[in-house]
């Protein structure tokens, strides 16, 4: 399964195989097309990153009763190109590695953080047919890569040879061991209802009712763990700017810093997408309304599902930005105790709830 199975790209794929097949062979053409598809997925993620960066600055500004970015960009969408301007500015900064830092891990750390976020995008169902790769165990793939990200953050912290970075990296590890267990247990409860650990099948099994209605406790717990996983405001402990300068990012500048910020927003997009796929019905409509989409021409229906998915993702992103504007920061020991003494027992309760719900439904 790939993006080329969506009704929009299917003709392109067939045509490309016809043209390229005789020249570079069938396997070669397939490889080339997979390469193009990978770049398409990453391009989609980066476009969303640029929009989310702008949205966060604009909405945070509005919530603080100021205007946010105003000048860059076309009329009526003032400030939309602010993120591009920031990116270009970071591009022109000097390539620079501190003298005392370990050069290899200094580069691997941020690369790993970006990689973990981007690699998840392969298995996220963005719309009908817009799935990079369908796999029976895609949820496990996603969980594995999501917990790779704090490793990258830890490497950033350890390599820089800076005390603030070291503490930031260690805090990232502490954060991971406090939220990951509740997150995994909540995802298992959703997998239980769907009877599958394939993220696509979990999304498609919600065509009648979304899991947020069956597992409200689970959705709430998952939202909290998402905040911790993203290192966002109630839990932005690894980079706590008022305590640790910039946490694990202290020694990073220029494009390294740019990619670390990009990685954060990649994670915001991908994790929101995961939340949508698991609890908000993925790219479909509830109450069996998907049948209405089938009346449209296939290409248009496919585009509509892509649009529905993005609308839902941006609702979740808005919620995350709202929480950032409204809340304070937890202390690291408070986060660990929250994770183990509140979220973990509640996620076990949620699992029992899911078993009971499965009994009632079937």
């Amino acid at each position: 399964m790939s993006w080329y199975e969506s009704p929009i790209l299917q003709p392109v794929y067939v045509k490309a195989m016809e043209v390229l097949g005789p020249i570079i062979g069938r396997t070669g053409a397939q490889l080339l097309l997979s390469l193009i598809e990978s770049i398409l997925i990453i391009a989609l993620i980066f476009i969303n990153v640029l929009i989310i960066v702008w949205l966060e600055r604009k909405i945070l500004g509005r919530m603080m009763n100021r205007r946010g970015p105003v000048y860059a960009g076309p009329p009526l969408l003032w400030g939309l190109f602010q993120a591009i301007a920031d990116f270009l500015k970071l591009m022109t900064k000097e390539f620079f590695i501190p003298r005392r830092a370990d050069r290899l891990t200094y580069i691997i750390g941020p690369a790993l953080v970006v990689f973990a976020g981007l690699a998840i995008g392969l298995m996220v169902p963005f719309g009908e047919g817009f799935v990079g790769l369908k796999n029976e165990a895609s949820l496990i793939y996603i969980i594995a890569l999501a917990s790779l990200e704090p490793m990258g953050v830890m490497l950033c912290g350890l390599s820089a040879n800076n005390k603030f970075s070291l503490m930031g990296g260690m805090r990232a590890a502490a954060q991971m061991i406090s939220y990951e267990l509740p997150a995994v247990l909540v995802l298992i409860s959703a997998a239980l209802l769907a009877g599958s650990v394939d993220i696509l099948e979990i999304a498609e099994s919600q065509s009648q009712i979304w899991y947020v209605a069956i597992l409200p406790l689970g959705a709430l717990l998952y939202l909290i763990t998402v905040l911790a996983e993203l290192e966002r405001t109630p839990f932005d402990i690894p980079e706590a700017e008022s305590e640790l300068v910039a946490g694990f990012m202290t020694e990073y500048g220029g494009m390294f810093y740019g990619m670390l910020m990009a990685a954060h927003y990649i994670s915001v997009f991908v994790t929101s997408a995961l939340f949508v796929a698991v609890f908000l019905g993925g790219y479909g409509l509830p109450f069996g309304l998907n049948a209405a989409l089938e009346m449209l021409p296939p290409a248009l229906a496919s585009l509509t599902t892509l649009l529905i998915f993005h609308v839902k993702v941006y609702i979740v992103v808005f919620l995350l930005i709202w929480i950032r504007a409204a809340y304070f920061r937890f202390r690291i020991d408070q986060l660990l105790e929250l994770g183990w003494k509140r979220l973990f027992p509640l996620s076990l309760l949620n699992l029992v709830w899911a078993i009971a719900a499965l009994g009632v439904l079937s």
Partner: protein, 124 residues
């Protein structure tokens, strides 16, 4: 079929890893580079750094970390169960409830022993 899946995954992952590394080195092509001893110094609030950061650092949460490893492996056991529970039925549910019971007993034991504290043996 299976090989295609892995080839595609490897291709995608390679691109996802190469993109950030290329991005790091793009500025090297056209930005000025003026090295100075002080610029390359570690940041420590404007002072000359005191010692190194490669120290034996007390991570206060090692009991959490040990428990995390144990419980995370137990959580991993639940994935295959979640897939087959509809086929097996009530027997699988009872087994899992027993398993969750063991989970809870382990958590209560650790909690009463004071393992779920930021600094052990320190008044709250």
């Amino acid at each position: 079929m299976a090989v295609e899946v892995f080839v595609k995954m490897a291709l995608y992952m390679a691109i996802a890893l190469v993109i950030p590394v290329i991005a790091f080195f793009i500025p090297k092509l056209f930005t000025p580079s003026r090295y100075s001893y002080l610029k390359a110094e570690t940041y420590e609030c404007g002072e000359i750094p005191y010692g190194t950061a490669r120290v034996q650092f007390s991570i206060q949460y090692y009991t959490f970390a040990l428990m995390f490893v144990i419980f995370d492996i137990e959580a991993l056991m639940m994935f295959p169960w979640a897939v087959v529970v509809k086929e097996i039925g009530i027997l699988a549910v009872i087994e899992m409830l027993v398993f969750i019971g063991v989970f809870v007993i382990g958590l209560i034991y650790a909690w009463t022993k004071g393992a779920l504290r930021w600094v052990m043996n320190y008044p709250e």
